[in-house]
């Protein structure tokens, strides 16, 4: 192929090879291969062509056509790799003309793409249509009048008289407005007594889980009787030892004097209260006997009835601190 004199360690490509290379690069400039060029000379050029170029060159130089099937075959395999597998696995008989085979494959693919495209298009249209239906539309029609309030289902047998109508209305009103909410006693909820206590009644039971600073001691409270019926002599003997410590303690504690404050659970306390009055005349009415334990005023017994309106039914909705 090239001249026999091989250069030392280097090969200058032959002019033929160089020409083939240059022509291959400029394949789109080539219009025709002419009549004189043999197939084996131009084969490298043809291998670099695209299908259109190949067609053109074949047409211009018909003498090449008998040799081109192998090029078409290569083109088929390059463009449709699935064909390679098909021919390798199934040992399919070689088509008569690879060129025709190529174009057949091309058409099949185009059809497939067209099908898929049209399917996508129709799906898209459908989606758009559905979307449009849900849009807000301008219309002239008046919306349907609302259905009558469950009236006349069975058919009113008689039209109601005015008196009957007012009665039903009034009863409805009564139910909604005038009924105060009755709080049913929930299991485990605190039992709040909201009505005022009668003096003689027992004190309300104190909830055990109360962690406030108030220490409430249930005491039996008897109103001090400021009547001087008991004999002062016997009582004074009883109470004599007590006053001095009591006086100090009482004076140190100054309390607002509601009579309902708890006091020590000593029955003699009432009596000593009474006896104390001559001892401490100044603070007689104001001081209240109590134990030396510190305490704070408990919850007031009398409750505002209006406050019941806002007590939530369920403990969960209550905003009171737990």
């Amino acid at each position: 192929m090239y001249s026999d004199a091989e250069p030392s360690g280097r090969r200058v490509p032959t002019l033929v090879q160089l020409c083939q290379r240059v022509a291959g690069v400029n394949v789109d400039c080539i219009n025709s291969l002419g009549d004189e060029l043999r197939y084996d000379l131009v084969k490298p050029i043809l291998e670099r062509c695209s299908t259109d170029q190949l067609l053109r060159l074949e047409h211009a130089s018909p003498h090449l056509q008998k040799d081109t099937p192998e090029i078409w075959r290569d083109l088929c395999f390059r463009k449709y790799p699935s064909e390679v597998e098909r021919h390798a696995v199934e040992a399919v008989q070689e088509p008569e003309s690879w060129k025709d085979h190529y174009f057949m494959l091309k058409e099949a693919e185009a059809k497939r793409i067209e099908e898929v495209g049209s399917r996508l298009r129709s799906q898209r249209m459908e989606a758009e249509e559905r979307k449009k239906e849900r849009e807000v539309k301008l219309t002239d029609r008046v919306p349907e009048p609302k259905r009558q309030r469950s009236g006349g289902w069975g058919g009113n047998l008689q039209p109601k008289t005015l008196f009957q109508k007012t009665r039903t209305e009034a009863s409805k009103l009564q139910k909604t407005i005038y009924n105060s909410r009755i709080i049913p006693p929930m299991p485990g909820a605190r039992n709040y007594r909201v009505l005022p206590e009668r003096p003689s009644a027992a004190l309300p039971p104190v909830p055990s889980n109360q962690t406030s600073r108030v220490t409430v001691n249930t005491v039996v409270h008897r109103r001090p009787l400021l009547v001087s019926t008991p004999s002062p002599t016997t009582l004074s003997s009883l109470s004599r030892p007590t006053p001095p410590p009591l006086s100090t303690s009482s004076s140190s504690h100054s309390l607002s004097p509601p009579m309902t404050s708890p006091i020590a659970s000593r029955p003699p306390s009432t009596i000593s209260f009474q006896s104390k009055s001559p001892l401490l005349p100044s603070s007689a009415s104001s001081t209240v006997l109590h134990e030396s334990r510190p305490f704070k005023s408990p919850k007031p017994m009398k409750k505002d009835p209006m406050s019941s309106l806002f007590v939530p039914k369920h403990r969960a909705h209550s905003q009171r601190p737990v």
Partner: protein, 117 residues
């Protein structure tokens, strides 16, 4: 076709003429002309070709334009030069390729094939 130098023994440093149909001729050293297998045969003095005697040979057997002959000669010089170059040097093939205009490349291909180059 034109005057030649007659030597008894061809040497590589001899000049030979390469002609084209449209009147162009190129003078090259024999060594260079021998790059082409065909030309070497033609110019071989052992044979009795007229070309050998006259030391001229046409570039192509049929029509070949001057430009083709020129490119052939150019290639021959290129190759003859780089044949002898050491292995370290790169051969600027692309340079030569750039100098070949695509318009003549097919003719050149034909001529090259004929010349066994």
């Amino acid at each position: 076709m034109t005057d030649v130098e007659i030597r008894n023994e061809p040497k590589d440093s001899d000049w030979v003429r390469i002609t084209s149909t449209d009147g162009f001729s190129y003078l090259v050293r024999r060594k260079v002309a021998n790059v082409s297998g065909t030309m070497r045969n033609m110019l071989d003095t052992t044979s009795n070709y007229a070309e050998a005697v006259t030391k001229t040979c046409p570039a192509v057997n049929r029509h070949s334009r001057g430009i083709i002959a020129e490119k052939l000669v150019e290639y021959m010089c290129f190759k003859a030069h780089y044949e002898t170059v050491g292995p370290k040097e790169d051969i600027p093939v692309s340079d030569y390729m750039e100098r070949v205009p695509p318009e003549i490349v097919l003719e050149l291909l034909l001529a090259a094939d004929y010349q066994e180059m």
